[in-house]
Amino acid sequence: MNRKLLLWLLGAGTPVLLLLLWWATSLQSTDTFFPPLKDILQSFQQLWLFAHFQSDVLVSLGNLLLGYAMASAVGVALGFVIALVLVARNVLEPLIHFLRSIPPVALVPIFISLVGFGTEMRVFSIALAALFPTLIATVDGIRSVDSGLKDVARVYRFTTVEKVTQVYLPSAAPQIFSGLQVSLQVAFVVMIASEMLGPSQGIGAMTLLAQQSFMISDMWAGILLLGVIGFAANIVFSLIRRRVLAWYIGSRRLARSS
């Protein structure tokens, strides 16, 4: 029992210790690239709370959410069509495999050339890049639906709508969610990349601007904020997943313990 407590303390203590160490060792730092943590936190407060909150942070998050929502909706819907309609699968699958092999960030210059540097470009880049993980996971998820379940649905003469909503969607849900998680990370990366290319607003643009104008602690503040957003987005996603897939997680735990 005592040992357990000690280990737990170790887990909670190490990050705090590392932060304190960063603070202490950097306090006297004169290195241009690694300013004191104190200065970084000061810049963080000046920049993001709340001078640029509305003009940059909200804009970035809004683009991220909008692009991601589009990608999720289209990805799941198209995934169903491709998995269930044979012709669509044959026609679209090679194309999709080619498109998803392109590094998502490489699509950003193409969108810049097509629609300019505006908000549409960023939302579209995010949406297209984040589409593929969800799409492919959905197709795989539906294909691996238990054939017994399909037969039962057929015996009970489920309509197509019933089949989709009551058989396919729930049993593919775990895989769809892991696709959605990858999509979220891709969307986040493309959000930053789309802001770093060309003159624009947003957290990524602010961070790169600070770097180019040698405002090092401002750049660190941007990196810190992006890190926190990346982490927080993942936490929020996990919470939603745990709620929606509660039945699945519970059944897995039961299966493992027996």
């Binding site: 203590g13 190490t14 050339s113 770097q211 987005a233």
Partner: protein
């Protein structure tokens, strides 16, 4: 798996229709705009492929990606075994690793560019960091998955700790490590391209940036197509390597007999 000729035919037709649609849009409603025609992209692709500069930047891109992947595999497996074998280490690092995991390497790109400059070293470092965490975490999981009975058996046969590590723990962790590297490999390529595109590192990313900045859209599209093909190669190659190295593992055994 054998591909039906009919399937192949519909797939080819789908591809042709997509290309034809692109050509129609480029010559019709968007003629003279930023969307180049298929023919001009094809001509450009053919012209680019014969230049020496193209092959140099292709080789640079692949080289950086592979070197980054290799170094992060070595470091990641070593650290993963260390963290996985000693409980205090695991508890101390779990919170830190979980916090850092969802943060993509693009976040610290401005800092790395600042310190290392727009060099190949910078690209390598980003690839290294980006692949490191997933490999560490999978190795830790793999070490934990080692069969305790096999461990105890080895110990009762008088094997020393290093030997147990080499003959029992490491082989049982191999499938986890293999999966981690296969998942990380396309990421390595993507990060190399991102580092070139946003950070000015050498390779295809830089060529894409130059094509976009110079308004040379046919070359831009040609390069993105090259990246797509390269990405497909990378995925295929890493799966093949994984299958070869893990041919003894049960998830691959069945495939060998077919």
């Amino acid at each position: 798996m054998k591909i039906q000729p009919k399937t192949l035919l519909t797939s080819a037709a789908g591809f042709l229709v997509a290309v034809a649609a692109w050509q129609l849009v480029a010559t019709g409603p968007m003629a003279g705009g930023p969307l180049p025609t298929v023919t001009s992209v094809a001509v450009n692709l053919a012209a680019v492929v014969v230049t020496e500069a193209f092959w140099t930047s292709l080789a640079t891109t692949v080289g950086i990606a592979l070197l980054g992947l290799l170094t992060s595999a070595v470091a990641g497996i070593a650290l993963g075994i260390l963290v996985g074998s000693f409980e205090p280490f695991r508890y101390a690092t779990v919170a830190v690793l979980e916090f850092l995991k969802p943060i993509p390497p693009i976040v610290i790109l401005p800092l790395v560019v600042l310190v290392l400059g727009p060099t190949g070293q910078m690209s390598w470092f980003l690839v290294f960091l980006g692949c490191l965490l997933p490999i560490i975490m999978q190795t830790v999981d793999g070490v934990h998955d080692a069969d305790p009975v096999a461990r105890d058996t080895a110990r009762s046969y008088g094997l020393k700790e290093p030997e147990i590590l080499l003959r029992v723990v490491l082989p049982s962790a191999m499938p986890f490590i293999g999966t981690a590297i296969r998942v990380a490999a396309p990421g390595a390529l993507i990060i190399t391209v991102v580092a070139g595109l946003l950070g000015g590192g050498p390779g295809l990313g830089q060529s894409i940036y130059q094509a976009q900045a110079g308004g040379d859209y046919p070359t831009l599209y040609a390069l993105v197509i090259v990246l797509g093909v390269l990405g497909m190669f990378f995925q295929g190659a890493t799966s093949a390597v994984e299958r070869r190295m893990l041919h003894w593992h049960e998830s691959f055994r069945e495939a060998a007999h077919r």
